[in-house]
């Protein structure tokens, strides 16, 4: 049940997993400045999970952790939206106040400053957390139940790479 690829693949995975996750976090945090955002960054982080599944064949016993992370991300997203209920739901109550993510943007083209955006940046972060956990969960459940991880037990070595 718990099969893994050769040592070369596992070492390359250990090296590549760090820039992949860092690039995903960069896409999430710069969602209000550059192309990208919560959904795309979450998909990049989930692709690192796909790499882990392909090379190691398992994620351990982290399914409940991923479920909890996804639910927490969605709940925090709804809470951040709900705190603006004094005006309307999804009101941007942090923009331009000078607090966290409350900087002001100069009018017209500018290079972009990370401390702006108000609730948009926070919602990007929450959606990134939710999407990364959700896609990791989908990938893991489908790869576990479709029999890919049992390929070695049944004698077919089509998925295994000889080191």
């Amino acid at each position: 049940m718990n099969w893994e690829m050769s040592r070369v693949v596992r070492t390359i995975t250990d090296i590549l997993i760090v820039p992949m996750i860092i690039f995903g976090i960069y896409l999430v945090l710069h969602g209000h400045l550059t192309p990208g955002g919560g959904f795309q960054g979450g998909a990049v982080i989930a692709s690192s999970t796909a790499l882990l599944i392909v090379s190691y064949g398992t994620l351990g016993k982290h399914k409940k952790d991923l479920s909890s992370i996804e639910a927490v991300g969605l709940t925090l997203f709804i809470l951040i939206a709900f705190f603006g209920i004094g005006y309307t739901m999804f009101y941007n109550y942090l923009a331009g106040t000078g607090g966290i993510f409350g900087g002001t943007v100069p009018a017209g083209p500018n290079p972009g400053y990370i401390n702006t955006g108000g609730t948009v940046t926070l919602m990007n972060l929450m959606v990134g957390i939710e999407v990364s956990a959700a896609l990791s969960l989908i990938l893991w459940m489908m790869s576990r139940e479709s029999g890919i991880m049992e390929a070695k037990d049944k004698g077919s070595e089509g998925m295994e790479v000889k080191g």
């Binding site: 969602g31 550059t34 955002g37 941007n92 923009a95 943007v105 009018a107 108000g118 939710e130 576990r144």
Partner: protein, 95 residues
Amino acid sequence: MKKSIAIVAFVVIFAFLVLGVVQMRPFGEPENEDMDDHFLGDSQERHQVNNVVTAVLFDYRGLDTLGEATILFSAVSGVLTVLRKIKDEKEEVED
């Protein structure tokens, strides 16, 4: 019989699509753009966001994004339910 119905449906829908393309406005010259021009002018001074698509996604049309996140959540719940049930059945058979 069933295949002939499918062929007729395909031809009719294809004809409607081609008819729609012939009568479509030219590419790159939209007509009703007042709302988008308002978004473009408003997103920097009122929401302090550089990326207008993100501003539309999370501020002006935030409820759409809430529904989208809910759909993703329920789809993951459906995947978990469907695949977990199969595993339980298999374990029952093994027992």
